[in-house]
Amino acid sequence: MGCAMNNMPMKWLLMVAALAGTAAASDRGWWREHGCRSCQMAAQVAALRAMQATAAFDEETGRDLRVFPHHRPIDIIHQRIEMTIVDMDEPVAPARTVIEFEPRSDLLESFSLDCVLLEVSAVTIDGRRAAFTNDGAKLEIEVSPPLPRGTRSTLVIDYTIRDPQRGLTWTPSSPQWPGRPPQIHTQGQPQDNSSWFPTHDFPNEKMTTELVVAVPEGFLVSGNGRLADRWPGDAFKADGTRVPVEVFEWLQEPDHPAYLVSLIVGKFDIVDVGDGTIPMPVYVPPGRGPDVQGTYGDTLAMTRVYERLFDEPYPWARYAQLVVWNFDAGGMENTAATSMFDTAIIAQDELDDHDLLGLISHEVAHQWFGNLVTCTSWEHLWLNEGFATYLESLWFEADGGRDAYLVDTLANYDAVIARDDGIAPLDPAMASGAYVDPLDVFRKPANPYPKGAATLHMLRTKMGDAAFFGGLSAYLDRYRLKSVDTGQLMDMLEESSGESLERFFDQWVWRPGIPRLRVTASFADNSLVVEVEQTQHIDGDNPAFWFDLPLVIEAGGTRTILAMPVRERTNRLEVPLDAAPAMIEFDPHLAVLAEMSIGQPEGWFIAQLARGSSIPSRVQAARHLGDLQSDAARAALVSAARGSGQHVRVREAAVRALGLHEDAESLAGLLSDGAWQIRRAAAEELGSLDAVPAPTIERLRQIAREDSSTRTRSSAIGALASLEGPAASELAIELTRVESQHDGLRQAALRALAAIGPGAGEDALETAIRFTRFGTLNRTRPAAIAAVRSLADIDRERAIATLIPLLDDREDRTIGAAGDALSELGGPEAARALERHAAQQTDVPRIRRADAWLERLATDSTTR
């Protein structure tokens, strides 16, 4: 599963915010992640952390609460799902699933399937009626007479799908969305497909699957694999009305796990972006066909890159990408049929500052890593997500060279450094069965996305390209169409490289946290002394990390590369040198996933910023120069920010550092830079200052109104809200009316109103309320709801009256945001509404969410 944020490339540090449906933060420098901007996120991380600590072990009963892979009493060979949809606006469908299976146990007397809130009417095995119980989570089936191991049998379950709360999202047409055709899409990961068909809903079982779905004439059906057949037919409504339908039969032939089964019904423009060898249709909302090439044009090239790197042909019959309504994540790699979020189609005039290359390559990558070879339990999710995230970097490397690769890797490192400060055994490691809801695994601090990618980058560095790619190619060969765990990957990499990797995996994969290094370097008496202290928590469960830290020493015009052994809490290296070094680089190619705080002479940093041997090295210099409040440091940063041959990523880091220098004048100058990344960074940094001169305000207003980059405009309105307060509200209101890619500008303007607070005035509240309504993009509504909550003091009654009905919305993000807002606002009406909502829920994650709101209400009322 991939995550996409409005108005920005996906970066995993924001995943918590994304999944919780809160407003997007912006891609700030690493040092800001600890700051107040992320406090909302930090609170969520803390809550998650508390949950995960109890997820491993129950103090009271002494129980081991970790999740272990599910038993597999039957070998599911093939599963067919048949559905009849007579009315796309009526979210009910009679369905039947046919499962070909063989018992794995010696004598199968009973077994259960996952089956969430489905109305099951009949079960037969080999034509004989079978007794069953259905408790809303499991369908327990009796096998009578018992079946011996290996007996091929057929299980048939008749049931009804009635507007499921997860797994299958049914979007009827609505007068509030004129022209939007009704649509159905599904989302199986992690364990939600059992909300629309009974199955073994865990990734340790694989099977071939088949969808046979009848839909009203004029609608298209997409499933996994290939379209085996389609034919016209008739169906009948409950009242006997005849409905002409078309039946689509989709067949996924090589095995895959249940969570990757996809069904999509709707009306689309379809544009193929392949070259005829593999069908590569992209399904977009009607009318958006012309934008497909601009957004998805690299899909085929990505596929070719991965085929070449891993020596494994694209495994499936086709590669479809489908843009669907009301999609929760960024993308979902369903086998051969990836789903993409609502606005994953970029208008021609937005292509300068928008792309989806990260997301697109991520989901393409999953077709091998995740789909062909699948994590056997969510504990090992990083085998899916770490790889998919890492393969984004490999695409950038193939397309843009080593710099592009390292820039992307640096972003992953920064994301881990910002969040992964866990300590064993309370905090879960990246690979860990300690979770309550499988979704927790996707958003935990030792996050499988960036930390998985960083781990793979470290492995590649350690093993060398030949052994790394050769080992992964062998891994794909050996485990294709199977499910795997972390140990199986490790064994293959050990085999190809000859390296003993257990220590590596122990510390980077099986334990939370990363090294936090205090590094000092000094030169005296012809000797360079480097000291490295590991400052993170160290104890028996968290011994000191063990690695070699690469150093590049530039002295007397030559560069020497050393590997400093770091084994203990404190480590020291002495290097005899004839003359003082001009520069020292610590780990310029990111061999070690560590946070480094470096103390050394300022001049060495200045040299490093100018001629460090990699982009991460120069960014490291810029960041440290941000903390050194000298004129020389500032001058070096200004020079780097303005360009002089620097990569835009280095320039941006210099702009961020100038923010720390509070250099308003230089920042103001950078607002006119030619690169939108620099203008945007300058706007954001200016917004973080206490005050700026009036002309700069004017310039920011101008940018907010008319910059060619909507992302820069978004940053400008954010900065103005912070600098001007209520004076910016009129402009913000104006900007909510502007259409932009992903609704980015509208969301930024709503966030600006929220930041201004009640001083923004009644018009602001009215504006926010308007965008909470159904008919606004599903990711914009939460921003509007947050603004209503922030502006509620203007008219509390009206705010609450606006929010309460949203608890019954069809869009889950809206429900989540409304519940968050109401539980924060408190008061008797809000409490009643939330209690009523809680009482109505049947779906476990929704019950948990509702309970959390009630808990917050209770806590707040006691603290008040």
Binding site: A56, F57, D58, T61, G62, R63, D64, L65, R66, F68, P69, H70, H71, R72, P73, I74, D75, R104, S105, D106, R149, N204, P425, L426, G433, M463, G464, A466, A467, D485, G487, Q488, D491, E494, S496, S497, G498, E499, S500, E502, R503, D506, Q507, Q534, I538, D539, G540, D541, P543, A544, W546, R567, E568, R569, T570
Partner: protein, 619 residues
């Protein structure tokens, strides 16, 4: 390896263990040298008094923060073949000239250094790589050999090390090479012939043979030994030739009357299984099928040894039936003079303690079965590192129980009783195991300083290992258990494997998720302490079973989860119930018409626990 020590001699044995510990630096960590004999003694006496000792964490150094777990070494080279040529001019002089030729191929990236292990008794004269003299450096135990130019991945290099082996003073060594020069002594006033034997496991081969001395690498081996006339040489694999060196054209070169024995082990095995025995033996044949099976008995004891080892062919037939074709060219069993600590399963040539030669078939059947099943579990598939030793020794101990079961079956006796009798013995010992994490190592653990310690730890690879296998057998049923075990052997044949590999094979054939089982029984130390309260609720007419877990329970040691079998005997009927136990307290109510005559807790010994039964229905 099976370790046996006897009565009064055990003290001598254990001090020898301490000696060998010192020899190999086992006592590096303060206190360990002293502790080791105590631990060994505990094993010897059959009890594991939850060794009350203030133990610091073996996994972590408080002072420096350093991770001190024992990780397996890199395998920068694929060791393909090792050929040892050993020239022994005179058995009365404990030294030999040796040449070892190791064929390696670089793995991963270009490699500049080949690192082997050797003891100071290996006195290197020269090292050549592909015929050219190579630089080398020795820092005990590592012998580092320069590859110049660096070896590219996949590139094959031939490394020839010429050395003199100094075996002086190793007359009674317990590990490495034992060389009895054959002089008269107190025990044996006759001037008897000299004798040599070796003991490689766990990391003693390096004492006499420079090599990659870790079980994570396998290679074919070839042992060529020239000895004085009248001596015999035993090693792994097939005897290719036995040349009379007298045919040598040069007169007076000292080769008169000498013989060169050429053994070839042409299927890969790990270095610790390389064996060399030189001496004068009665060589007698037990059988020729499916492979030649001979006993190398002490002179004059051939007939008696035929009797002691007579069941070997029947055991062979049974294990072949259970686990597939015997993998090696022959199966020899030898009883060297100074081998006193049990037996060692060297590939195709097991070494037994000398006492076996004057024992009986009944007394030795366990140890014979133990070493024989090792030829599959240990030799065909080898524990990848000593952390996973239980895969070797647990299976070998299980082999003792399996053979007891089969033997009873063949004799028309009660196989179940015979099998459970052996299991009960393992359980009795493990019932004293009160260890917990993280201070104590689990059954599979990297918490050790020296590999040797793994053989003696409380969570013992032998007894607890066998119990784990027994529990798996009961939980999965015979079909899945044996099929999974065969799959494990097939999949990793001639390779090394770890605990997870074994788990995966069992999961694959059974569909049962075993991760939790392995976490609690294999990865974590200790066993549960259960108090089972059996009550009769006359009002409800129900048996009330309450199980309390009384062992240490905390985040490092969560409660065990398992199904506890109960037999409720009522009016001549016996009803089996499986009670789900999880958490500190678990409860089960079973309604039956009237008070049962008795309730049996775990009658089939399916759960390795210390169990105390209390309550009204306790007997």
């Amino acid at each position: 390896m099976q370790i046996r020590c006897y009565g009064a001699r055990s003290m001598a044995r254990t001090s020898l263990l301490a000696d060998i510990g010192r020899l190999l630096g086992v006592g590096r960590r303060v206190g360990l040298a002293r502790r080791l004999p105590v631990l060994a003694l505990a094993v010897v006496l059959g009890g594991l008094p939850a060794v009350a000792r203030a133990q610091t964490e073996l996994r972590f150094d408080q002072m420096t923060g350093r991770n001190t777990l024992s990780y397996p070494p890199d395998r920068h080279f694929d060791h393909r073949h090792l050929r040892l040529e050993l020239d022994i001019p005179d058995m009365r002089v404990p030294e030999a000239n040796a040449r070892v030729t190791i064929t390696v191929a670089a793995r991963g990236v270009e490699r500049r250094t080949l690192r082997l292990q050797a003891s100071p008794r290996v006195q290197v004269d020269s090292i050549r790589v592909d015929g050219r003299l190579a630089a080398f450096a020795y820092a005990n135990p590592n012998l580092s050999i320069a590859m110049d130019p660096p070896a590219q991945p996949g590139e094959v290099r031939e490394v020839v090390i010429e050395y003199r082996l100094d075996a002086a003073g190793l007359r009674r060594a317990l590990g490495g090479i034992t060389w009895d020069a054959g002089e008269p002594n107190d025990l044996d006033p006759n001037n008897r012939p000299g004798q040599i034997h070796t003991q490689g496991q766990p990391d003693f081969t390096r004492i006499w043979l420079p090599s990659h001395d870790h079980p994570n690498e396998k290679m074919t081996t070839e042992v060529i030994v020239t000895v004085p006339e009248g001596y015999q040489v035993l090693s792994n694999g097939r005897l290719l030739s036995k040349d009379d060196m007298a045919g040598d054209p040069v007169e007076g070169d000292g080769n008169e009357g000498r013989r060169r024995w050429h053994w070839l082990q042409d299927q890969p095995h790990p270095i610790y299984l390389v064996t060399l025995v030189v001496g004068q033996f009665d060589i007698v044949t037990l059988a020729e099928e499916p492979v030649p099976m001979r006993i190398w008995a002490p002179l004059g004891r051939g007939r008696q040894c035929l009797e002691v080892f007579k069941d070997t062919p029947r055991m062979m037939a049974y294990f072949v039936d259970q686990f597939g074709e015997y993998p090696w060219a022959k199966y020899d069993q030898v009883t060297p003079r100074h081998y006193t600590m049990g037996a060692m399963e060297n590939t195709s040539a097991s070494t037994f303690y000398i006492q076996a030669a004057s024992s009986t078939a009944r007394a030795e059947r366990d140890i014979i079965a133990h070493e024989l099943i090792h030829q599959w579990f240990g030799n065909l598939v080898t524990c990848e590192s000593w952390e996973h030793l239980w895969l070797n020794e647990g299976w070998a101990s299980m082999g003792e129980a399996l053979w007891a079961e089969e033997e009873a079956r063949q004799a028309g006796e009660d196989p179940e009783a015979a099998y459970l009798g052996k299991i009960a013995r393992f359980l009795t010992t493990q019932r004293m195991n009160q260890t917990s994490a993280p201070l104590f190592p689990g059954l599979a653990s990297k918490q050790f300083n020296q590999p040797f310690e793994n053989f003696f730890k409380t969570d013992n690879p032998y007894g607890k290992g066998a119990l784990v296998l027994h529990m798996l057998r009961r939980q999965l049923g015979d079909r899945a258990f044996f099929e999974g075990s065969r799959l494990f052997l097939r999949r990793h044949a001639f390779g090394s494997a770890d605990t997870d590999d074994f788990r995966r094979a069992l999961e694959e054939v059974s569909g049962v998720s075993l991760q939790r089982f392995f976490e609690q029984w294999v990865m974590r130390p200790g066993i549960p302490s259960l108090e089972v309260d059996l009550d009769w609720d006359s009002g409800a007419s129900a048996v009330v079973v309450r199980v309390r877990q009384l062992q240490t329970i905390d985040r490092h040691n969560p409660a065990y989860a398992f199904d506890l079998p109960l037999a409720i005997v009522h009016g001549g009927e016996r009803r089996m119930v499986r009670m789900a136990v999880d958490g500190r307290v678990s409860e089960l109510r079973v309604a039956i018409p009237s008070r049962p005559s008795r309730v049996e807790v775990d009658p089939g010994l399916e759960i390795a626990a210390r169990t105390r039964v209390v309550g009204a229905l306790a007997r």
